[in-house]
């Protein structure tokens, strides 16, 4: 086997395995760490796809910045175990209200995934000449994808303003 294939299956296995363990873990700290491992493996897959820039951004933004905040919150709350206020022996589909809805959504996801994987073929492949250089990505972002890019920026700005409003302490004079 070519080294790329071996690396692909290795990273793929780590990504899938770590993601599964994220939801199987009882301890939120370990869930966060496994999610980081999963992001790391995804970044390895990007490198295999000749997209080093995306790979590094994946690490910086997701594994580096966002997950540190996750870990921060989990540590501050210091919740060693998730609290369960339902009977664990009952099947999720039979549990009350929102939990049943969540289980139904998960079921739908599994069906969709099975359908997508069953279709096979190479419909998911990108057309040739992938964008790799940083300059090309920048150009694409500010021309072809300018509108979604700006919409995302506004979304983040709104979130930031919201965070400032929520976190602001009332002044007592």
């Amino acid at each position: 086997m070519a080294p790329e294939i071996v690396a692909f299956y290795l990273f793929g296995a780590i990504a899938v395995g770590a993601s599964l363990l994220v939801i199987a873990q009882r301890n939120p700290i370990y869930s966060v760490l496994l999610l980081i491992a999963s992001f790391g493996a995804l970044s390895g897959l990007y490198v295999l796809l000749d997209a080093p820039f995306v790979a590094v951004i994946q690490i910086i933004v997701y594994a580096g910045a966002i997950m540190v905040l996750f870990l921060f919150v989990v540590m501050l709350l210091n919740a060693p175990h998730e609290e369960t206020d339902y009977d664990e022996r009952v099947h999720p589909l039979l549990r009350p209200g929102p939990m049943r809805f969540g289980a139904a959504l998960a079921l739908l996801l599994v069906v969709e995934l099975g359908w997508a994987l069953g279709r096979g073929g190479d419909s998911g492949r990108f057309p040739g000449g992938a964008v790799t250089s940083v300059a090309d990505i920048g150009r694409a972002l500010f021309t072809d994808y300018a509108f979604p890019f700006e919409v995302t920026s506004i979304l983040i700005l709104v979130a930031m303003v919201g965070a400032v409003v929520l976190a602001r302490r009332e002044e007592h004079h």
Binding site: I29, I60, G64
Partner: protein, 344 residues
């Protein structure tokens, strides 16, 4: 195996050993310079002028007992120092420290004095640095001690805050160099800045980017948790911060990581702002110029530590967000306008 591959392996091992050595040298320099700044001798008993002191320290650390608090999370407690040390070593892999060389004709093709030439090198360093935070955060949490936890929380807040200014200061240099490869950035700094056709200053980015350089070094000191920004391990308040509960070699690994991170930040600053290995006869003794510049920055680090008192924690946060970041952003905007107007 081809000679180039063997040379590459030798180079990788060389960098690894030199990083270990640099930490030992820095321990000695720190103690000696601290002594001189405080009008005392510093270490002088072990070896001539005390130069073997780091060796004695290492032996002492190795024979200490490994302790672990009973309530600690055993796996993460062991993992944390490993993450710290690994990230510290890994970051240096993409730092170039000399011009291409054939080692006096030993190799047929010239090779780069760099472990891995990645075209997004700067971002890789940034990514590995952001992974290094986990070592400190996990050390703080897993020990199950209040001092460790507070140290870990402070450290993550500090590193998240200062990473922004650090990255923004970097971006200004990227704009000027029009590249993310450190090798290309250093090569852009060959020659001299001209005044009326006369070369007056070496063509280093530190001169047009003096603001960026100061922001970068300040944020770099905060990123490496050094005084005057050493809150994660503020002794008077937190005993020893995130590594309070560590002993023996796991403590040594944190110690090692701190010094290697200092070396890496200095090496990156040298490549970005001080022209890397550029200097007279750069083709043959470029690495020497690089070494001198890095040593000067490291001395500056030590000098800072023993000169400035520690900030207060709220001052540190206010300074990072309200002073350093705006300055870095304005610097980036001015640089972008300048590059647009004058051409890269």
């Amino acid at each position: 195996m081809t000679p180039l591959l063997i040379a590459q392996i030798v180079l990788t091992l060389f960098v690894f050993v030199m990083l270990l050595n640099s930490a030992a040298i820095m321990v000695y320099v720190e103690r000696k310079v601290a002594g001189m700044l405080q009008q005392r001798l510093g270490p002088y008993l072990v070896g001539p002028k005390g130069v073997l002191q780091p060796l004695a320290d290492v032996v002492k650390l190795m024979f200490k007992e490994e302790l672990r608090p009973r309530a600690a999370d055993a796996f993460l407690f062991a993992l944390a120092p490993i993450i710290s040390a690994t990230c510290a070593f890994a970051a240096f892999a993409v730092v170039p420290f000399g011009a291409e060389t054939t080692f006096f004709g030993l190799l047929r093709e010239p090779m780069k004095l760099q472990v891995a030439d990645v075209n997004v090198a700067i971002l890789v360093i940034f990514a590995i640095a952001s992974m290094g935070v986990y070592g400190i955060v996990l050390a703080g949490w897993s020990a199950n001690s209040k001092y460790s936890l507070l140290g870990g929380l402070r450290s993550s807040a500090q590193m998240i805050s200062y990473e922004l200014s650090y990255g923004t200061a970097l971006a200004a240099v990227l704009l000027m160099a029009n590249s993310m490869s450190l090798t290309a950035i250093v090569e852009k700094q060959a020659g001299a800045w001209l005044l009326f056709g006369w070369p007056v200053l070496p063509r280093w980015f530190v001169f047009p980017q003096i603001v960026g350089f100061l922001v970068f070094m300040t944020a770099g000191i905060a990123e490496t948790n050094r005084a005057p920004f050493d809150f994660p391990e503020a002794e008077q308040e937190l005993v020893a911060g995130y590594h309070t509960e560590y002993s023996s070699m796991s403590f040594a690994m944190f110690f090692l990581a701190e010094y290697i991170n200092m070396v890496t930040v200095s090496a990156v600053a040298t490549d970005l702002f001080l022209g890397g290995w550029q200097g007279p006869f750069a083709d043959s003794i470029g690495w020497l110029w690089f070494l001198i510049k890095v040593a000067a920055l490291l001395f500056f680090y030590v000098w800072m530590r023993w000169t400035l008192p520690r900030y207060r924690y709220d001052q540190l946060m206010a300074f990072g967000w309200k002073v350093l970041l705006p300055v870095a952003v304005v610097n980036l905007l001015v640089t972008a306008a300048g590059v647009l107007y004058f051409g890269a």
